[in-house]
């Protein structure tokens, strides 16, 4: 179905169901319970899950398949955001032109950066992309202030021309009138579920992006990209020109990043230079590796995992901890809070770092490999089932061992 084999179609179906039911699944705790702070089912966070999922899916096409580690993909995300906001200022608050332009501009931008950076491989390629991203960041931050509005960030205002919008058009990003921030709230007992237009737009686009990624993985082109990672010498002596293959992968992943940037700006119509900073580029690398580089599902899992940590774990402060441990004797309670304090709240990065280390050391195939091992314990499944996920995990093990 959809030109996918049974297994891939099943995977797509599972992802589709989980994504579309996310507002319910991610809100397992009643709204007034103490656990409600672990609910992730509010639109702003869910949008981040899927948007960064798109970003990581695209990054994985470059890094997971060809092994070229770009440290500058946030530049394309930023360029996408700026393009989208400009479209909303000039043309229309409808997000369609904004998203289209963000993909196109990021694509063009990645052709230029990719063409130059791909003259080198390995660490030199990474450094070149990092340099380009930092240049883009600094340009956006200062030199190109007329276009990017410098450190304030690019915003929409009532004086914008918006030549396609009529007098009564909504003044917030919308899809043919349906505003991105509009949502329906459904109360079910003491549970509250929010279904927002913005989230469902992002979710549908992510599913399309995921579907395209499956097709790329299963195509001769995808196989060539894995061949690039495996042995460039053999490729050259087999009559294949590796350069256009790597450039195409780079541009595709750049367009995914631009799409993510455009969606970010569509959900919240502002674009700042900090989106292009190297930490943002590093984040997508972490997402991909944490989830499982070279696997289909890994990047989405990694993106969700990191964004959940960033938004939920960071909210646990000392008061919350005291609340949890209040049943204990005072001295012991204070002691526990002191011990846990550095790892929560502002220290969420520390926990994430530890988890990342554990994953890289014990699960080189990322969370996907973890899931597979877990599944194998129950199913005793044959190890050479031939799935890409398992193969990729195996490959990663080998490269790590060498």
């Amino acid at each position: 179905m959809l030109s996918l084999n049974k297994k891939d179609f099943g995977l797509l179906l599972v992802v589709a169901i989980l994504t579309l039911a996310a507002p319910i699944i991610l809100n397992p705790f009643p709204a007034n319970s103490g656990m409600a702070q672990f609910n992730a089912g509010y639109p702003d966070l869910m949008q981040r899950f899927v948007i960064f999922g798109i970003f990581a899916i695209g990054f994985n096409i470059l890094f997971g398949l060809t092994g070229y580690l770009s440290f500058g993909h946030a530049a394309f995300l930023g360029v996408g955001s700026y393009s989208a906001v400009w479209m909303m200022k000039l043309l229309s608050m409808n997000v369609i032109p904004a998203i289209l332009l963000s993909v196109i501009v990021a694509g063009l931008f990645s052709v230029v950066i990719g063409y130059i950076s791909l003259r080198r491989s390995g660490i030199y390629f990474s450094i070149l992309t990092l340099a380009f991203a930092q240049m883009s960041f600094n340009l956006a931050y200062s030199v190109l202030t007329p276009i990017t509005n410098g450190e304030t960030g690019l915003q929409i205002s009532l004086n914008d021309p918006r030549i396609l919008d009529g007098a009564n058009a909504p003044s917030y990003p919308n899809l043919f009138g349906a505003q991105m921030n509009s949502a329906a709230t459904v109360e079910f007992g003491s549970w509250i579920f929010t279904f927002s237009v913005g989230y469902y737009l992002c979710a549908v686009i992510m599913l399309a992006a995921f579907y395209i990624s499956i097709r790329v993985f299963r195509s001769p082109f995808g196989m060539m990209l894995r061949a690039v990672k495996s042995n460039q010498q053999r490729m050259n002596y087999t009559g294949l020109n590796t350069k256009p293959y790597t450039l195409a992968a780079f541009v595709i992943s750049g367009m995914y990043a631009g799409l993510a940037g455009g969606l970010l700006a569509s959900m919240d119509p502002l674009a700042g230079a900090e989106r292009m900073q190297w930490t943002a580029s590093g984040e997508v690398v972490l997402m991909t590796i944490l989830g499982g580089a070279g696997t289909l599902l890994g990047p989405v899992l990694g993106a969700g995992f990191i964004k959940y940590f960033e938004n939920i774990f960071s909210k646990i402060n000392d008061n919350v901890l005291h609340g949890w441990f209040s049943f204990m004797p005072d001295g012991f309670e204070n002691f526990l809070v002191t011990v846990i304090h550095p790892f929560v709240g502002k220290g969420w990065n520390l926990t994430l770092g530890l988890l990342f280390m554990l994953v890289v050391i014990f699960l080189p195939g990322g969370l996907v490999e973890g899931g597979q091992r877990f599944g194998r314990v129950f199913r005793r499944k044959d190890r050479n089932a031939g799935s890409v996920e398992a193969d990729a995990a195996k490959q990663r093990n080998q490269t790590a061992a060498e």
Binding site: S3, L4, N5, R215, V216, R218, S219, P220, F221, G222, M223, M224, R226, A227, K229, S230, N231, Q233, R234, M235, N236, Y237, T238, G239, L240, N241, P244, Y245, A248, I252, N384, G386, D391, K394, Q395, Q398, T399
Partner: protein, 254 residues
């Protein structure tokens, strides 16, 4: 008729004249061996033929066309395939995928953006790869990771990958280096079989005299970057100049 014509090729690395005034012509549908002591310039010459190095002087013509200045992938598309000293295969991919890649390269050229076609729909390529796997007795290993195969199987796979493209000239760089006797004999049998069954020209660089004298129809002896003699194996064996430069006391090995 000569399929490969090397004329007055010279190559210098800094102070070392690696090749000087090399003339060589390889006749179509023969097995031509290039032998010579270490440092004679055999590998440099081979690299000049496949586009890895560009000679300083002279010309290399393949089937009437110059190969100089062309990239390795362009030269491969002209019909020259190369087998490396240590098998160069796609270790992270399955054996079957290793076979598919050269078949795609042959059909689709150096680059094709077929990101939306599923491999499983490419019947012609799958059949071709399968045929080759069966012919080279690798069919039962098709789902194996190529990197986990034995040295001999890797060599077999690499040769299969080259042959699947129906090259007109197959270049082998010490194909039996580091192999046990049994594996070496298997490789000799395989190459003999290829030579008998196909319209193919084979040029082979080799240290092992056993391999050279069991396969070659013509032999060129290189010494200090220049061809000493070129003749049939029988005459090379007894040639005084060759003995002096190369075979010397190792004649027993032959």
């Amino acid at each position: 008729m000569a399929i490969l014509e090397v004329k007055n090729v010279g190559k210098r690395f800094g102070g070392l004249q690696a090749l000087s005034d090399v003339n060589l012509s390889i006749v179509e549908n023969t097995v031509h061996a290039i032998i010579g002591p270490n440092g004679a310039g055999k590998s440099t010459l081979l690299n000049c033929l496949v586009g890895k190095l560009i000679p300083d002087t002279g010309s290399v013509m393949f089937d009437g066309q110059s190969v100089l200045g062309r990239k390795p992938y362009e030269i491969n598309q002209m019909g020259i395939s190369r087998v490396f000293q240590t098998p160069e295969i796609f270790g992270d991919l399955s054996v079957q995928e290793n076979m598919l890649i050269p078949c795609f390269a042959k059909r689709d050229g150096a680059f094709r953006m077929n990101a939306f076609t599923s491999i499983t729909t490419q019947r012609d390529i799958l059949d071709k790869a399968e045929e080759m796997l069966v012919e080279m007795k690798l069919a039962d290993k098709r789902h194996m990771h190529a990197a986990s195969m034995s040295r001999g199987d890797k060599r077999r796979l690499e040769i299969a990958m080259c042959l699947s493209q129906n090259p007109r000239l197959l270049l082998l760089d010490e194909p039996t280096a580091g192999m046990a006797r049994a594996d070496t004999n298997n490789t000799i049998d395989l190459l003999k079989q290829i030579k008998d069954e196909r319209d193919i020209t084979i040029a082979i660089i080799e240290h092992d005299m056993h391999v050279v004298f069991s396969l070659a129809e013509r032999i060129t002896v290189l010494a200090q970057g220049t061809p000493l003699v070129e003749d049939t194996p029988d005459k090379i064996k007894g040639h005084p100049k060759v003995r002096e430069a190369y075979l010397g006391e190792s004649q027993d090995a032959a």
